[in-house]
Amino acid sequence: MSATTCIRTPARPVPAASISRTLKVRILKAEWTKLRTLPSTWRTAVLTLALGIGFSVAVALSQISQWHTMTAQQRQVFDPTSASMSGVMIAAVVLGTLAVRTITAEYSTGMIRSTFSAMPARPLVLAAKAAATAAFAFPVTLLGNLAGFELGQRIFASQHVAVTIGHPGVLPAMFFGAVAVSLVAVIGVGTGGLIRPTAGAATTLALIIIGGLTVGQFLPAGWRQYLPGIATQAAVTVHRSAGLLRPGTALLVLAVYAAIALGAAAMRVAHRDA
């Protein structure tokens, strides 16, 4: 019998793909921890719901009060679903600003240096901030849409134009609205990375979202529907209406804006001194 031989297991190099996946998970986890441990995140959620639902109800009441003056044509295209979820625009601005702050607050305090020391892969950090805020914005907006819809339909019931949640296109509209706001949050992170002062970045984002409703009036209707704010409005529609993209197309347009904003911000942040 031969002497005991030890078989050495050769060290197996960890595949690069697995290192990078671990890294992505860690960065995402860190950015999620940052977001959820900031009390203002939760205050923002409450604010979004209060203002968003309030706005949805106000718009529904104003619409129904004008019902008797509406033409038959106007009544024909009336969309009780989108008319009860106007709060999606409020959600876009307030949660978009939250997304802006995830990056500008770190630049203004200097904490960005701790962030980039702990996680030198800067583009991944930006992507993780975008993913975390988008994941946060989705359920908050969905809840707001649901509440706005339910309250709005009670208001519309007085003129017998209410629809139920099971009505074709209603549930998709709620979801599309939440996806639209999540994409606006990604645009917000991109805006924050490109414009570091909080005030400047938040104002820019607000103009991107609601500016389309004012400045956009001067654009040809064919162009106007591609503005981020108008696309967000289109996401919650059920009836096809003139001057608005189909909801699916609207989300695609927002996704393109989000990719451009985040990509540009990642390039800028990666190459500048922190």
């Binding site: 960065i27 921890t33 203002s40 701790s114 702990a118 030198p120 001194d273």
Partner: protein, 309 residues
């Protein structure tokens, strides 16, 4: 271990760091000494991969910082204790740092304890004093149990207890074989904490030596003497090659002779001494001696010119 090779950082036409080459070795506290604006913080930011050098390179534990996997496990750094979003609790701040480098939450509790912050772990960081922020910054630096530690002006804003705590902590970290790199413009603090000094002025490394050697090489010890017959003693000491400076209070500051030689001279001439005190050279004097021509602005230059700095 930190190794810089011909490190240069330019901002427009200003050269913040000028051809800095140095090595910060493990097992000792290396002080990074220089006046404000000398380039200490810029150098530290380049070490951490936050700022990109205009040219040259710097390696931490043999690698560029950005190529380290789980950097907090290799290098712990405190740059600016106030640079922190105030809404989170101390524990939450450490929690995201831990998550980012795959460090367990138990370690968060450990470093909070180590930094003496256990009682305020759940308090908002925004309510912290500067001293508490410094402790939190040090807890964050220690989180990954790194072999290299770097602190930028860590004793700013600390009370005397805190200063002693930091001093002992730095020494014990170095005694464990870690690389400890500590910047300060406070020379007295460096004299008590650092084993080795790297002196920077106007972006250039002007000295790289042990603290004792630096002090010895750059300053002259002197002896303060008071005698019953000052004129006789002065004459006797001058004959022996000493430089004697008479003070208005009757004392003399003698350089060039040690206390034994002065005592011997006095006794040979029957001179009565009632004070003989060796005045050791301080790091402060050594520093001013070395940087006299290097610092950008001397206090004296502020008078008589109309130009602002």
């Amino acid at each position: 271990m930190i190794e810089a090779q011909h490190l240069i950082k330019r901002y427009g036409t200003t050269v913040a760091v000028d051809e800095a080459s140095f090595a910060v070795r493990p097992g000792r506290v290396t002080g990074f000494l220089g006046p404000n604006g000398a380039g200490k913080s810029t150098t530290m930011r380049m070490i951490l991969g936050l700022d990109t050098p205009s040219s040259g390179s710097v390696l931490v534990n043999g690698k560029p910082y950005r190529e380290l996997t789980d950097p907090l496990r290799s290098v712990g750094a405190l740059l600016d204790a106030k640079a922190i979003v105030g809404g989170r609790s101390a524990a939450s701040h450490l929690a995201w740092l831990a998550d980012s480098n795959g460090i367990g939450r138990r370690r968060v509790t450990e470093v909070l304890e180590l930094a003496g912050l256990s009682d305020v772990a759940g308090k908002r960081v925004g309510t912290f004093s500067l001293g508490m922020n410094q402790r939190l910054g040090i807890a964050a630096a220690l989180l990954g149990d790194p072999e290299t530690l770097m602190f930028d002006e860590p004793i700013n804003g600390l009370d005397p207890d805190g200063i002693v705590w930091i001093r002992n902590l730095m020494k014990s970290l170095a005694a464990q074989g870690r690389t400890v790199f500590l910047s300060s413009h406070l020379m007295s603090e460096m004299a008590q904490t650092a084993d080795h000094l790297l002196v920077i002025a106007r972006g250039r490394i002007i000295a790289d030596a042990s603290t004792d050697e630096f002090v010895h090489r750059n300053s002259t010890p002197s002896v303060r003497v008071r005698a019953l017959q000052p004129a006789d003693l002065a004459a006797a000491l001058t004959r022996r090659g000493a430089l004697v400076e008479r003070c208005p209070d009757g004392a003399m500051i003698v350089t060039g002779l040690d206390s034994a030689a002065i005592g011997g001279a006095a006794s040979a001439h029957d001179i009565t001494l009632f004070e003989l005190a060796v005045h050791g050279a301080s790091l402060e004097e050594a520093f001013f001696e070395l940087t006299r021509d290097e610092t950008d602005y001397h206090a004296g230059q502020l008078t008589g010119t109309s130009q602002g700095a």
